[in-house]
C-alpha cells in the first residue's frame, strides 16, 4: 500500500484560476484593511526603490548602478559593536560562555521584558539625553521596532475615526504605522521654509480648529524630534510651547525620539522628557515618548522599539499590547549586557556622533561645491536638500520630474519632499550614513556632474577609519550568500526600509 504522496501545496497557485474572479472574491472574503492600500506601499514614490533593486550600485562590480541614498540607516559604527561582541561572549546565549543561560532566556516571554534589558534601555536613553533625565525601567514597554511602537501608542490613545496632528514634512510610513490598522487619521500641521519649518502655534491652532469644524475628534499631536526628514532638533522653548498647547487642549503629545542619538552638532539635544521636568503644573499623563535602537545604534534587524509613557493606564494597557510584538529574548539578553556596559555606551555615543558629523560635513561640503544648499541640520542620517533652483517650475509635477531624472540619469535614489507631505516643492531627502566613504565620493561626483561642474577635484584627506570597507549588502548579493542583506533578489517593499 502506497503512502500518500507528498503534496506540494504551491501547485495550487499555478493551476488555472481566473485572476479577476479571485481578486473580486478576495474583496468579499477579506477585511477592508487587507484589501485597501492604506499601507501606503502602492505609492508611485517607490519607483526609486525599484530602480535601485534592479540595478544596485557596487564599487567594483557595478559602478554604474543606482546608489541607495533613500535609506536612513546608520552603518557607521558596526566595527565598535562587533568588537564589543567579540569581547563579551557571555552576552550571547549560544556561545560556550553564555549557553548556560540558554534555556532560561529561550523560555522567557514575559511581556514586562527582561529586567536587565529594561535597565539597560533606561540607562542608554538617559545617556543619550546627557544624563539630564532618568528613566524608570518599569515604564519601558517593548514593541516590534519603532513601527510597532508607533502603532501601539495609537491603539492606546485613539479610537477609529479619531485624529492625530502631525507637522509636515513627516516620515511617509506614518500613514501605515499610525493609521492603517488603527483607523486613526492624520491632520497635517503645515510648516514651510519661510520660517525654517518651525512648528508655530498659529499653524497648530489652525489645524486644530479646522478639525473641530469638521467634527473630527483630535486626540493628540505627534512630533519627531530630531526630525525626519529635516535633521534638526527642537529648541526648549518650542518644546515647552508644544507641551503647553497640548496640555491646554487636553490632548496627547507623542514624541518620536528615535533619532535622539544621531545628534552630531550643537545645539545639543533636548528631549520632551527633560522639558517636562522643568514645567510646573504640566500634565505628564499626556506625554509619551517613542524610542528605538534602529537609528541610534544601527540595529533595525533586531526590532527594538520602545514606548515610554508617563501615563500609568497607558503603561498598563500598552504592556499587554506589547505581546503582539515582543523583542526576542535572545536579543533582549544580548542588548542588556551591551547597554549596561557604561564605558561602552559612552564611548559608542561619542564616536558615533563624531563619525556622523564627519560624514555629514563631507557630504555637505560636496554639495556646497556645486551650490546645492541644504537645510542646516545637527542630527539625523540625512540631509534635506534644496533643489528648487533645478526645478523647471515651482510645482510638485516638476519636483517629480526632477526626481525621476535623479534616479534614472544621475542614478541616485533620493526621496522627494512630496513623499514627506512637504507643502512646498523642491526639497529632497538624501541619506548619507548607509554607505562607505568611497561611495559618498562617487555620489558627490555624480551630483557635481549633473549640476554642471566636472568632478576632478580630489576629495580632502579625510582620515579613513575603515580603509577596506566595501558595501556589505551588495557584496553579499553578488556572492550569493544564503544570508541575505536587505537587498535580496526577492522584491522587497521599500517601506520596509523607507525610514
Amino acid at each position: 500500500m502506497c503512502a500518500p504522496e507528498a503534496t506540494n501545496l504551491s501547485m495550487h497557485k499555478q493551476l488555472p484560476f481566473c485572476t479577476l474572479k479571485k481578486q473580486s472574491l478576495n474583496m468579499e472574503i477579506l477585511s477592508k484593511i487587507a484589501t485597501n492600500d492604506k499601507h501606503g506601499e502602492n505609492s508611485p514614490y517607490f519607483d526609486g526603490w525599484k530602480a535601485y533593486e534592479r540595478n544596485p550600485f557596487h564599487l567594483t562590480k557595478n559602478p554604474q548602478g543606482v546608489i541607495q541614498m533613500g535609506l536612513a540607516e546608520n552603518q557607521l559604527c558596526f566595527d565598535l559593536i562587533e568588537e564589543w561582541i567579540r569581547n563579551n561572549p557571555k552576552a550571547s546565549i549560544c556561545t560556550p560562555e553564555g549557553v548556560h543561560q540558554f534555556r532560561d532566556i529561550a523560555n522567557f516571554q514575559d511581556y514586562h521584558g527582561l529586567q536587565d534589558f529594561r535597565n539597560g534601555m533606561a540607562n542608554f536613553m538617559s545617556k543619550v539625553r546627557g544624563g539630564r533625565v532618568r528613566f524608570d525601567p518599569d515604564r519601558i514597554l517593548m514593541s516590534g521596532g519603532a513601527t510597532g511602537a508607533n502603532e501601539l501608542i495609537m491603539f492606546c490613545l485613539a479610537d477609529p475615526g479619531d485624529a492625530f496632528m502631525v507637522p509636515t514634512p513627516y516620515y511617509p510610513a506614518f500613514v501605515r504605522d499610525l493609521c492603517w490598522r488603527t483607523g486613526v487619521q492624520l491632520i497635517p500641521v503645515h510648516c514651510d521654509s519661510s520660517n525654517n519649518f518651525k512648528i508655530t502655534l498659529p499653524a497648530l491652532e489652525e489645524a486644530y480648529q479646522k478639525a473641530k469644524e469638521e467634527k473630527i475628534n483630535v486626540k493628540g499631536l505627534i512630533i519627531t524630534n530630531p526630525s525626519n526628514p529635516l535633521g534638526t532638533t527642537l529648541d526648549k522653548d518650542t518644546l515647552k510651547s508644544l507641551v503647553s498647547f497640548t496640555n491646554q487642549k487636553n490632548i496627547h503629545l507623542v514624541c518620536d525620539e528615535i533619532y535622539a542619538a544621531t545628534v552630531f552638532n550643537t545645539p545639543s539635544y533636548v528631549s520632551v522628557s527633560e522639558v517636562i521636568q522643568e514645567m510646573e503644573n504640566c500634565r505628564k499623563e499626556l506625554i509619551h515618548v517613542i524610542c528605538s535602537l534602529s537609528k541610534d545604534m544601527g540595529f533595525p534587524g533586531f526590532r527594538v522599539g520602545i514606548v515610554y509613557s508617563f501615563n500609568d493606564t497607558v503603561v498598563n494597557c500598552g504592556r499587554k499590547m506589547s505581546s503582539f510584538g515582543l523583542v526576542s529574548s535572545q536579543t533582549q539578553h544580548m542588548l542588556a549586557s551591551m547597554l549596561l556596559d557604561e564605558n561602552f555606551v559612552t564611548k559608542f555615543l561619542e564616536e558615533s556622533s563624531r563619525r556622523l558629523a564627519e560624514r555629514h560635513d563631507k557630504f555637505v561640503k560636496g554639495l556646497e561645491e556645486v551650490n546645492i544648499t541644504r537645510f542646516p541640520s545637527n542630527a539625523g542620517l540625512f540631509c534635506w536638500m534644496n533643489l528648487k533652483g533645478l526645478l523647471e517650475e515651482q510645482s510638485f509635477e516638476s519636483e517629480l520630474k526632477l526626481w525621476r531624472v535623479i534616479i534614472h540619469e544621475v542614478k541616485i535614489n533620493v526621496s522627494p519632499g512630496s513623499s514627506f507631505n512637504c507643502s512646498e516643492p523642491g526639497w529632497f531627502r538624501v541619506c548619507f550614513a548607509n554607505m562607505d566613504d568611497e561611495t559618498v565620493d562617487v555620489a558627490l561626483k555624480r551630483i557635481r556632474a549633473f549640476v554642471g561642474k566636472e568632478g576632478t577635484k580630489k576629495p580632502l584627506g579625510f582620515k579613513r577609519w575603515r580603509p577596506n570597507l566595501r558595501l556589505s549588502f551588495s557584496s553579499s548579493k553578488f556572492d550569493h550568500e544564503t544570508v541575505l542583506s536587505p537587498h535580496s533578489p526577492i522584491p522587497t517593499s521599500p517601506l520596509v526600509r523607507a525610514t
Binding site: E82, C94, P300, R303, R319, G325
Partner: protein
C-alpha cells in the same frame, strides 16, 4: 471626551479573568525545591521544558552560529541591518521543511506562502486583521485557549462565538453544535467569517479527527465567504496515536475538491516554535496561506512584529540541520509521552481521571466528582482550594470557556519529574482529605460560597495590579 482609547480602558484583553489570580498567587509564592518547598507549583504554564539539552548540545557543536559567523566571516552587520519583512529566505525554507517533517511529509509548505510574525500571538491577531473586522465573528469550539480573547478580539474588534462541545463525546465538534453557534452569531447580528480551531487542541491535548475536519470543510464550503483557520502550534507535540493530521492534508484528500478549488483561498494555518521547540522567548510565529492577497497583506502587517534577525539566523542554522531536527522531533515526543503518562498515573492514584490525550503539554482533567455542586461557582471554589491549599496553579475550565464545570487543565512539561511527583502527591492528599470530609463541612463551603456576590459570574475582575507571564498560559 475620553482621554484614552476604548481599547485601553476596556477589558477585552481578558486579563481580568480568574485565570490570572492563580498566576498572581504563584508569583507571590513560587515553589522551589530548596528555597521554598511549600510554595505553589506552577501547572498552569503550557511550556515545553523537556528538551533544552538537545538544543544546548546542538549549540555546543555549532560555534559559528553563536558568533554570528558563516564560514568564518562575520554576518553581524548584515543581520543588524536585515529588516526585510519577507524574512530570511534560508529561515523560511528551513521552517517550511520542519513543518513538513512534523506532518510526516504528507504535506509540504511553500516558503513563499509563509509570513513570519512575532509569535503566534501576533500571527493570530494579524490573520484576524486580514480576514475580519468589527461586526464579524469567528466560531471557536470550546474549551479554547483563554488568550484568544485577547489575540483575536481585542484590537481587531472581531467577536468570538463559541461552538459548545461537551464531555458526552469527548468534546468533539458536532454538526448540531456548529449550526447552533452559527445561529447564535446571527442572532447577535454578527457576520460569521469562519471557524478557528486549535489542532492539536489546547486545552484538550487531543488531535482533531478527520471527520471533524471534514465537517468543518463542508461547513465553509457551503458558504463562499467563510474561512477555516487551523492553529497547529502544538503539531510537533503529538506523542501517540492517532497521529497528527493537518487540515491541509484533509483538504487534499477530498474527492469533491478539484485542485485549485477556490476553497484553498480560505484555509489558513498558524504555526509557532514556542511549543514544539520550547522557544517562546524567541517570538517565532507563522501564518501559512494559499491566498496571495492574505499573504501580501499579512506580510506588510508583519512590520509591526517582525522576528529578530539574529533569531532567524540562529534558527535557520538549527533547522537546516535535518539530522538534528529529525532526532529532536522523535526524542521530544518520547519525553512528552513519558511525562504525560506520569501525570495520568499520578492522577489515577488520586482517583482522578482525565480525557485521553495524545498531544500537547497538558492534560484535561476531570474533577467533576470533587465539586460540591455542578456549578461554575463550585468549580472556582475547588480551584481556589487547589491553588491556595494544595499549592498547585492549575487552570479552571471556565477560563477556557468550557460549557461544563469541573474540568481543569494541568500542564506537565514545564517542571522536573520530582516536582511533578510532588504535585501528584499533594493532589492525592487533598482528594483523600476532601472525600473524607463530613457533609456539614461541604454544606458550610456551599453556604459560604453562595454568599459571595462576586460569584454571580465565573469570571473575576482583578484589581488593577499587573500580572506577570500571563501570556504564557497556552
Amino acid at each position: 471626551m475620553r482621554l484614552l482609547s476604548t481599547k485601553a480602558t476596556c477589558d477585552t484583553h481578558g486579563q481580568g479573568s480568574s485565570y490570572f489570580i492563580g498566576w498572581e498567587a504563584y508569583e507571590k509564592n513560587p515553589y522551589d525545591e530548596v528555597h521554598n518547598p511549600k510554595g505553589i507549583i506552577q501547572m498552569g504554564l503550557a511550556e515545553n521544558q523537556l528538551s533544552f539539552d538537545l538544543l544546548e548540545s546542538w549549540l555546543e557543536k555549532n560555534p559559528d552560529v553563536s558568533g554570528f559567523k558563516r564560514d568564518g566571516k562575520s554576518m553581524f552587520r548584515e543581520l543588524a541591518l536585515f529588516q526585510d519583512y519577507h524574512g530570511l529566505p534560508s529561515f523560511k525554507k528551513a521552517l517550511a521543511d520542519f513543518m513538513s517533517d512534523i506532518r510526516g511529509n504528507k504535506v509540504t509548505f511553500d516558503p513563499n506562502h509563509m509570513v513570519l510574525t512575532a509569535g503566534s500571538t501576533s500571527a493570530n491577531e494579524t490573520l484576524m486583521f486580514c480576514l475580519a473586522e468589527e461586526g464579524d465573528a469567528f466560531l471557536l469550539p470550546t474549551p479554547y485557549y483563554p488568550g484568544f480573547d485577547r489575540d483575536l478580539k481585542w484590537r481587531t474588534g472581531v467577536e468570538i462565538v463559541p461552538i459548545q462541545c461537551t464531555s458526552s463525546n469527548n468534546f468533539q465538534i458536532t454538526e448540531p453544535a456548529l449550526q447552533q453557534a452559527y445561529q447564535d452569531a446571527c442572532k447577535r447580528n454578527l457576520r460569521v467569517k469562519g471557524v478557528l480551531v486549535t489542532n492539536p487542541s489546547n486545552p484538550l491535548g487531543t488531535t482533531m479527527s478527520r471527520s471533524e475536519m471534514n465537517l468543518l470543510v463542508d461547513f465553509i464550503k457551503s458558504q463562499n465567504d467563510m474561512h477555516l483557520i487551523s492553529d497547529e502550534i502544538y503539531s510537533g507535540t503529538v506523542f501517540s496515536s492517532p497521529g497528527f493530521v493537518s487540515v491541509m492534508e484533509v483538504l487534499k484528500e477530498r474527492n469533491d475538491l478539484k485542485d485549485g478549488d477556490e476553497i484553498w483561498n480560505r484555509v489558513h494555518v498558524i504555526y509557532s516554535l514556542s511549543k514544539d521547540l520550547g522557544l517562546p522567548g524567541f517570538r517565532v510565529g507563522v501564518i501559512y496561506s494559499e491566498n496571495d492577497t492574505v499573504v501580501a497583506a499579512a506580510t506588510k502587517m508583519s512590520s509591526f512584529g517582525l522576528v529578530s534577525s539574529q533569531t532567524q539566523y540562529l534558527l535557520s542554522a538549527m533547522l537546516e540541520d535535518k539530522k538534528f531536527t529529525k532526532n529532536y522531533i522523535v526524542e521530544n515526543q518520547k519525553r512528552l509521552k513519558r511525562r504525560q503518562r506520569m501525570l495520568v498515573s499520578g492522577l489515577k492514584k488520586a482517583g482522578i481521571s482525565c480525557l485521553e490525550s495524545n498531544a500537547g503539554l497538558f492534560c484535561w482533567v476531570d474533577m467533576r466528582h470533587l465539586l460540591h455542586s455542578n456549578t461554575f461557582d463550585a468549580e472556582i471554589e475547588l480551584w481556589k482550594n487547589i491553588v491556595y491549599k494544595v499549592g498547585l496553579n492549575i487552570s479552571p475550565g471556565s477560563s477556557c470557556h468550557c460549557s461544563e464545570p469541573g474540568w481543569f487543565r494541568l500542564c506537565f512539561a514545564n517542571m522536573s519529574e520530582e516536582t511533578l511527583n510532588l504535585a501528584m502527591k499533594r493532589l492525592k492528599g487533598f482528594v483523600v482529605e476532601s472525600t473524607s470530609t463530613t457533609q456539614s463541612h461541604r454544606s458550610a463551603l456551599f453556604n459560604a460560597s453562595s454568599k459571595r456576590n462576586s460569584l454571580t459570574k465565573w469570571v473575576f475582575r482583578l484589581s488593577s495590579r499587573d500580572h506577570h507571564r500571563d501570556q504564557e498560559e497556552r
